[in-house]
Subunit: 404 residues, 2 copies
């Protein structure tokens, strides 16, 4: 099994969000008394604090009662649901979407990402990935035997835009990159790419013939009424070279149904369906019915949800900004904060374990998002507001106990 | 994209079960009048004819109301559900199962199969596959860049056992096969491996150190009170070299929830979880709750379900046995029949399209199960009883129109 072992060594999930309960914590260096408080799992959003779109369960029940037509859909998803979503997503993004050809329903956006990467990467293909960016991106390149070409994003170096190094991006394209994957808003920093940046990405991709996967999972949760630019809406790229990914697992709290969508390139969508056929056949048939309420939420529901998240963001950011030795950039969209800590005298993974044991706070180590982020951690602040603020205070207090 | 194109050329889903509605049928050679009757889609079971385990929807609703703990489970599935299933599956198979270490919940058994194959196959690894066997097995080997080593099963040559060529199996192991995958009952023929055959497989695998994946999807639907032997229950192999796959999508009609299970080898389960983390994170959280009624069905419910399927099997088999030029083996388990037709003067794919257009009958071409099965088709007879019998009569009539 040696070759398989090598491959899986790159895919470790020991520090992946949600897996913390499976870690061994016996050897952790604990310092001082336990910090009491409501436990907060910042590794993902709390659907008890922010519940699913109203009517989601009813839509599921209705789907169940439809019976066979809903249980067994085409691998790319039920036609009537694709048609409905194609229209809504075209309105949202400004890009035309053909329901038969250009869209596939997937088991979560993770499913979309896996299928999209599998549809594009052959052994040895160069794939450009932003650092920092969603932790699975790196693992997917490794799994499909691609060659990772990291492109730095200096998110502390600017407050206007993401800080993506566009020269490095062009250099990567010039060196033979065939695929570029990025998330906007960026996961884990929450920065939103400016229109100029998105236009620059489109121009470079078009000029070098590079395919692009634009992960817009958090595109509906933008703060401060900031402008958001959909790459697909610009219509500046060959449409067959561009795929957009989005889903209702985050802001809309439908993660328990495992639903996602990818739309754009017909070539990629076809391949994704071929792959879906051997991966898991389809997004769970009855769950697909729950899409009916997405982009059709009750009047004001989304606006209120975004405002509530913005308020949590503001409080957490204020606490972090006052904490000596900490540094954070204000998230412009999404539910993530990616603070930098002062230097500590234990390893990052050991610290995050200690934090969970001693303070009841679960965070995701920065190294999941790029090997250089050894002094950062990510939190998902879609949590109970007061519990989240208290938890970040405990986190800061514990960091100081381990400070060098 | 040339290397990716090559890869996807091997994964065509145009004739895959459930995808028929996406086929182009304009160029099909239609002969004679339409054969009227209730349309029957034999490509998969009909959950309107055989509904899900009673209480399944209630279990889902209950899971939804649990909230965050059910929405976000470990990638291998919620601990309490794994514990429950480990116990029930140990009772069913006779193999000990450690809930923390030896079992993973997956999005359908297709999900289990994909993860299991991905956990075992590195580029160039030799993988033995029975012919005929489940169509995705071949595609999975291709996708993971393994080398397919077909092992013939002469299911017409015997009525005692599967007809698996054990010498060919040993020869394949001797030639360097590292993994053997088979389904029992066999898909598409419905034959059940005898105890002697299963023992022989165990001995060969143990002797050559070959890993085995035993797909027992239909192991609860065995006819005529035939003996069924769980390979894992024999305890004749290194437990870390054996993985068993099963799920509630077929006999139990829970396919719309996308649920499956794999248990056995801790090494394989660990890797499957690592892969799950980048494939689709987990079986949909709320859906996992539906496992609660599995192996805990109302008294007599499963026995009745199996009896009803056996009755359909008997009627279809009788019709096929009387049809001149047709040949079929009586299925001993599962919901599939794999008849051989008399020679026709159009290609198999063209015929199956004509059958759908002219007789409202959807079947899966034999070539999905091995390139040599050009005169066979598979039907899933988990259908309305009378509609299925009528549909097989129409099928026979249409075959005769195309007879050479």
């Amino acid at each position: 099994m040696s070759m398989v072992s090598d491959k899986f060594a790159k895919l470790s999930v020991d520090s992946a969000p949600g897996q913390e309960s499976r870690q061994h914590t016996s050897a952790v260096d604990l310092r001082g008394a336990t910090l009491e408080g409501v436990p907060v799992d910042f590794s993902h959003g709390d659907v008890d604090a922010f519940s699913p779109i109203p009517g989601s369960l009813d839509a599921f029940v209705e789907g169940f009662h439809v019976g066979a037509d809903q249980a067994y859909t085409a691998y790319r998803g039920r036609q009537s649901i694709r048609a409905m979503l194609a229209e809504r997503l075209a309105t949202f993004t400004g890009a035309p979407i053909n329901a038969d050809r250009d869209i596939i329903l997937t088991p979560g956006t993770q499913g979309a990402l896996f299928l999209a990467m599998g549809a594009n990467i052959a052994r040895g293909d160069k794939v450009a990935i932003v650092e920092p960016d969603y932790f699975a991106n790196r693992k997917l390149v490794a799994f499909f035997d691609g060659e990772l070409v990291p492109v730095p994003m200096d998110y502390f170096g600017t407050t206007k835009g993401s800080g993506l190094d566009l020269s490095a991006l062009e250099e990567s394209f010039r060196s033979g990159v065939t695929l570029f994957l990025f998330s906007n808003p960026n996961n884990p920093t929450g920065v939103v790419y400016t229109r100029d940046e998105v236009v620059a990405i489109a121009k470079l991709a078009e000029s070098y013939g590079v395919r692009v996967i634009d992960d817009e999972l958090y595109a509906r949760q933008i703060f401060d009424e900031r402008e958001y630019t959909h790459l697909c809406g610009l219509a500046m790229m060959n449409p067959d070279n561009l795929l957009t990914i989005i889903g209702p697992s985050k802001t809309e709290s439908l993660s328990g149904f495992r639903l996602g969508v990818a739309f754009g390139s017909p070539t990629m969508v076809d391949r994704m369906e071929q792959l879906q056929a051997i991966v898991s056949l389809r997004a769970a048939g009855y769950c697909q019915a729950v899409f009916s309420n997405w982009f059709s939420e009750p009047e004001g529901w989304m606006a209120e949800r975004v405002a509530l998240h913005q308020a949590i963001r503001d409080d957490l950011f204020a606490v972090l900004s006052e904490a000596e030795g900490f540094r954070a950039r204000l998230p412009e969209g999404g539910s993530y904060l990616f603070p930098q800590m002062p230097t500590i005298d234990v390893g990052l993974l050991e610290f995050t374990k200690a934090l969970r044991v001693q303070a009841g706070v679960t965070v995701t180590p920065g190294t999941e998002f790029g090997p250089q982020f050894t002094d950062c951690f990510r939190i998902n602040f879609s949590q109970d507001h007061q519990a989240a603020v208290a938890a970040i205070r405990r986190t800061i207090e514990l960091v100081y106990r381990y400070r060098s």
